[in-house]
């Protein structure tokens, strides 16, 4: 087992652990902290997969902006009452999700690794290559995404505004 595989297994264990904490911790703030940890580990995995630009975006947009938004809403609403777990739903939901996970693993586990098309020395995944792909082939989706974000801003203001 070489070093990168070892690092992958450590990261995978931490990722699964923090994902489980997101789902099973009872305090909402603790869940949010566990989610930040999971997002950071996923960012490290992105960097391992030669996607440094997306990894940086992951840290800034997800672990930064979106999680700050979540924490801000948690502080704003301050839901002190801890939820009571429902045993029936726990078993049913857990069973369904385990079934889904087993199916996905059975399907995806057989995927064969192709011979490595990207040499480690290439600039694959650099911001330059991402920008070339984004602004040559995906200009229209990019513009539509900007419109979507504008709509989201207007929608959030309208929804969260206090009614008169």
């Amino acid at each position: 087992m070489d070093a990168s595989t070892l690092i992958f297994f450590i990261l995978a264990g931490l990722l699964v652990l923090s994902s489980l904490l997101v789902v099973f911790l009872r305090d909402v703030v603790h869940c949010a902290m566990a989610l930040v940890a999971a997002l950071l580990i996923i960012a490290v995995l992105f960097v391992m997969l030669q996607a440094p630009m997306v990894g940086v975006l992951q840290v800034m947009v997800y672990a930064g902006a979106i999680m700050v938004l979540f924490l801000f809403v948690i502080m704003l609403l301050n839901p002190r009452t801890l939820e009571q777990p429902r045993r029936a739903w726990w078993s049913l939901g857990g069973l369904l999700a385990l079934l889904l996970g087993a199916l996905l693993i059975a399907m995806l586990g057989k995927t064969e690794t192709w011979s490595d098309p990207v040499a480690e020395t290439q600039i694959f995944g650099s911001p330059e290559m991402l920008a070339r792909s984004l602004f040559n082939d995906f200009v229209l989706p990019f513009e539509i995404a900007s419109v979507l974000l504008l709509v989201a801003i207007v929608g959030a203001v309208v929804l969260a505004k206090r009614e008169r």
């Binding site: 030669q50 996607a51 809403v73 839901p79 369904l96 693993i105 995806l108 586990g109």
Partner: protein, 100 residues
């Protein structure tokens, strides 16, 4: 070099954990966070396939998924704030106006 199916299995596991969160939790904010977790599991598959196919399209797709996820989080949290203002509760069980 880590094989592709390790990444795929890892993201399948994380996705299933996110599904568990959506199914069993009774807090709207935690449900939204589980959805973010599922989106990130799919992003990991995108990046892994992008790496192993040697094409940039996967990374661009992740870029767009991030934009849509940001919009989704903003709108979802605004709806949660509006609902909390009306009902003083984050329990989805108590929102049964359209249920019979």
């Amino acid at each position: 070099m880590v094989p592709l199916n390790y990444y795929l299995i890892l993201s399948a596991v994380v996705f299933a954990i996110g599904v568990i969160g959506v199914l069993i939790r009774r807090n709207l904010i935690v449900i939204l966070m589980s959805i973010e977790l599922m989106l990130n599991a799919v992003n990991l598959t995108f990046i892994a396939f992008s790496r192993f196919l040697g094409s940039m399209e996967g990374q661009v797709a992740v870029f767009f998924v991030m934009a849509v996820a940001a919009a989704e989080a903003v709108i979802g949290l605004a709806i949660i704030i509006a609902v909390f203002r009306h009902r003083q509760s984050l329990d989805p069980q108590e929102m049964h106006l359209l249920k019979w």
